[in-house]
Every structure is written in structure tokens, then in C-alpha cells.
């Protein structure tokens, strides 16, 4: 199960998209996710597709990586497309074979919805391909700062995210080891009724949690010994710089939204 957890999805290249401030990228992506839903005809979808392709081109990311990210959802996209082709009954009849009737509206609707899905996946995976997890965390921390007023511990949350990312592989290894140790003692995780299999998980939990608490204690002591005193007045090694191109990226998004609003029917 370890192989599937790929955290090295970040591709460190030199491109405009890579150099954008993570805050700008995060705002851009969340804006884009909303803007995509404005498109509702061929012209506006075409505009979106062109825009996304330009974005991909600028990022210098090999299309192969984007397609690899598509693998888990390709069946879902194909399924929704087929569902629409056969079930939507609008527009002219294009094709008839027995009880199967394909209408023009169905093909159009299916193509649009699959395209929307595809574009969303491309653009959101560009975020993780062009931004390292640490910069994403930094960006999130900075963007969530206003929520500090609501007593949400933003700095702490960002730190939790970084620590947690670091410890997922470690704890994963540990789970694997404990599982093997319990299997050597005769625990059976892979056969028998489901209820028994869930029950077999409990002897796995106790050592796992004990070790997690112990690790936490050690790490906290180590952090404090190195002078960690919480978020107040803490300075940073990596600073985020908002530059002209970041503002430009957001302006481009607004222009795109306006264009879509104008071309949609």
C-alpha cells in the first residue's frame, strides 16, 4: 500500500506557473473551480479548454504526468458520458438501434460534462504538480490568517499539516510492521466474515496509538529543546512575496469569468 502514496508528485521545474506565489495559485484554483460552472455552450467551453491548455503549456509540465493523474477517474468520466448519451432525450434524433436512441442533446450534454470534469482535474492537479507541499502549507497559513479573529489557531494548523505530512510514511511503515507481527501471532485480516476482520483491527490499534503518542512526546520535547515557543513573533526562513504576476494571474481569472459570462447562453 506504500507505493500508492506518492508524495513526490511535485515536479520542480522553472516556469511562470512554478514561480507564482502559492497564495495566488490557491486563490486562482478555488476561483477556477467556481468559474468553470459558468460555461454552458460550445463557445464558452471552447474558451475554457483553450485557457486550460495555455495554462498547461506555461507550466512546462509534461502532459504524461497530467494523464497519469487521470487514471483513477477515467472510468467515471466515460460512464457519465455514456449515461448522458443514452438517457438524455433532447434535440434531434441522431441514431437509432433497437431500443437505443441517441439524441443530439445527449451527446452535447455528455461531452460538456465530461469536458468540465477533465478541465477541473487538469487544473487542480497542476497546483500539486507545480507547488511543493511546504509552499502550499505556507500559502494556506497566510490565506487563513483572517480566521485567527475567530480563534482558529491558523499557525498551529499549518504546523500540524507539515508535521503530519512528514509522519504519514513513518506511521505507515509502523502499521505495516505491527500488522505483520500480529499476523505472525495468528491474526487473520484477510479471511472470515467482515465482522471478524474488523475485530482483528483492534489489536493493531493499541500498539499503533501507543507508539504515536510516544513519538508525539519525543517530538514535542525535541521541538521545545530547540526553542519552539509557538507562533507569536516567529519569523520565517522562506518568505512569500506577492508580485505583479500574481496580481496578473488573478486579473486573468476575473477576465475569464467576465468572458464566460458574456459568451454563455
Amino acid at each position: 500500500m506504500m507505493e500508492k502514496m506518492i508524495f513526490g508528485r511535485y515536479l520542480p521545474l522553472q516556469s511562470v506557473v512554478h514561480r507564482l506565489d502559492p497564495r495566488a495559485k490557491l486563490l486562482f484554483i478555488f476561483g477556477f473551480v467556481i468559474v468553470v460552472f459558468l460555461a454552458n455552450n460550445a463557445l464558452s467551453y471552447g474558451l475554457l479548454a483553450v485557457f486550460t491548455l495555455v495554462f498547461i503549456y506555461l507550466s512546462k509540465i509534461n502532459v504524461r504526468f497530467l494523464l497519469a493523474g487521470l487514471k483513477p477517474v477515467i472510468w467515471l468520466i466515460a460512464f457519465t458520458f455514456l449515461l448522458h448519451i443514452f438517457l438524455t432525450r433532447e434535440g434531434d434524433l441522431l441514431f437509432e438501434a433497437g431500443f437505443l436512441k441517441v439524441y443530439e442533446g445527449g451527446v452535447r450534454q455528455g461531452a460538456f460534462i465530461s469536458l468540465r470534469f477533465l478541465l477541473l482535474i487538469f487544473v487542480t492537479s497542476l497546483l500539486t504538480l507545480t507547488t511543493s507541499p511546504i509552499s502550499i502549507t505556507d500559502g494556506l497559513e497566510s490565506l487563513l490568517k483572517p480566521f485567527k479573529k475567530l480563534k482558529l489557531p491558523v499557525h498551529e494548523l499549518a504546523l500540524m499539516m507539515s508535521i503530519s505530512l512528514r509522519f504519514i510514511p513513518t506511521l505507515m511503515d509502523e502499521t505495516d510492521k505491527i500488522m505483520k507481527a500480529q499476523m505472525a501471532r495468528g491474526a487473520d485480516f484477510s479471511s472470515g466474515p467482515i465482522k471478524e476482520r474488523v475485530k482483528a483491527v483492534v489489536p493493531l490499534l493499541i500498539p499503533l496509538f501507543v507508539s504515536a503518542f510516544k513519538r508525539a512526546e519525543e517530538l514535542a520535547v525535541a521541538m521545545e529543546a530547540r526553542g519552539y515557543k509557538g507562533g507569536e513573533g516567529r519569523t520565517k526562513y522562506r518568505l512569500l512575496h506577492w508580485q505583479g504576476r500574481d496580481t496578473a494571474a488573478l486579473i486573468i481569472l476575473v477576465v475569464l469569468a467576465a468572458l464566460l459570462w458574456w459568451t454563455r447562453s
Partner: protein, 188 residues
């Protein structure tokens, strides 16, 4: 927040990521069952309401930031659009409620009560999100309605109930194991 509290929340968020994907041996109809509900309950039960819900928030943020920590190794900002994202959000509420209702020393009735609240929170938040998703942005299968959304949940109910019962029963066991090994446990 104290340093130890931050770190322990981080580790629980990491455990949650493992719990979401640790069970390749548990499948129903080909879909791997996740132990997320179990880990959310344990986060609330062992860390208390405040830290438990923070650790779940950290988990959600990690997933949204792009790490493949959600069930079936999914992640990224597009997960918000997934019809099942409501269940992920409900874990924050589940951890909070478990921590609030199951403060030590808990009586037997408290466990039953907590279990009922947990399943309600999980299903109500999750199903409504799913319904909203199919209504507004995901493409609903033909004949989708509010009742259909709930009927889908019925298939998972027995397993979820079993998982909840087991997790609630595991809370005092793990607490005992921790205190025996003189591991520091947070008292709120």
C-alpha cells in the same frame, strides 16, 4: 496551544490518513471499506473535543492541499466537488461530539448515546452533502431523489454500526494501555 498538543494532533491527522487506506482486506462489493470513522472516533475519544476536531481539520486541509490522504488515495482541491466529501467533513463533527460526550469516566449509557450521535452526524452531514452535490454539480443518475440518496446509505449501515461499536469499545482499552505504559494523556 502547547507544543505537545500540536504534535499529537498532527500525528492523529497522519493516523487518519492511514486509517482511510489501511484496509485492502476489507471490501464490500469491491469497494474497500475505510476505517476513517473509527479513527475519527478515537481522535475525539483520546484527545478530547478540541484537539480531536483540530486534528480532523488538519486532515481535511492536508487532503485539500493535494496529498492523497482521502479514501482510495484521493486528494487535491477538486475533492470538494466529490459527492462523498460531506463524509470527510463530518469527521470533524464526529471527533468533536465524541470528545464532548465521552469524557472520562463514562457510563455505559454515555457510550450508546455517543454512538447514536456519531452515526447521526456522519449520515446527516454526509448524505445532505451528497444530495446537494448531485442536485447542483455532479451529474445525478436517472431517478435520483432525496429518498434514493438515503437508500444508498442503508447498505453501509450495518458495517458502520459495527465499526462505531468497536471503536467506542476500543477507547477505554487504548486509554488503559496508554496509562499502563505511562504515556502522557491529555486531560481537558
Amino acid at each position: 496551544m502547547k507544543t505537545y498538543e500540536i504534535v499529537v494532533c498532527a500525528l492523529f491527522a497522519a493516523l487518519m490518513a492511514i486509517g482511510a487506506n489501511v484496509s485492502p482486506f476489507l471490501t464490500i462489493g469491491g469497494v474497500p471499506v475505510t476505517l476513517q470513522l473509527m479513527f475519527a472516533i478515537l481522535a475525539g475519544g483520546l484527545l478530547g473535543s478540541r484537539l480531536g476536531s483540530f486534528s480532523m481539520m488538519a486532515y481535511v486541509c492536508i487532503g485539500l492541499a493535494g496529498a492523497p490522504v482521502f479514501a482510495q488515495f484521493k486528494g487535491g482541491p477538486a475533492s470538494i466537488l466529490s459527492p462523498t466529501f460531506g463524509f470527510v467533513l463530518s469527521f470533524i463533527a464526529v471527533a468533536y461530539a465524541t470528545g464532548k460526550l465521552l469524557s472520562e469516566p463514562a457510563k455505559k449509557a454515555a457510550y450508546l448515546y455517543t454512538g447514536a450521535v456519531v452515526i447521526l452526524l456522519n449520515y446527516v452531514i454526509g448524505t445532505h452533502y451528497m444530495y446537494a452535490a448531485f442536485r447542483w454539480w455532479a451529474e445525478a443518475p436517472q431517478g435520483f431523489s432525496y429518498a434514493v440518496a438515503w437508500s444508498w446509505m442503508a447498505a453501509y449501515l450495518p458495517l458502520d454500526l459495527a465499526v462505531i461499536a468497536l471503536s467506542l469499545a476500543a477507547v477505554p482499552k487504548i486509554r488503559l494501555a496508554l496509562s499502563k505504559r505511562s504515556v502522557y494523556i491529555i486531560k481537558e
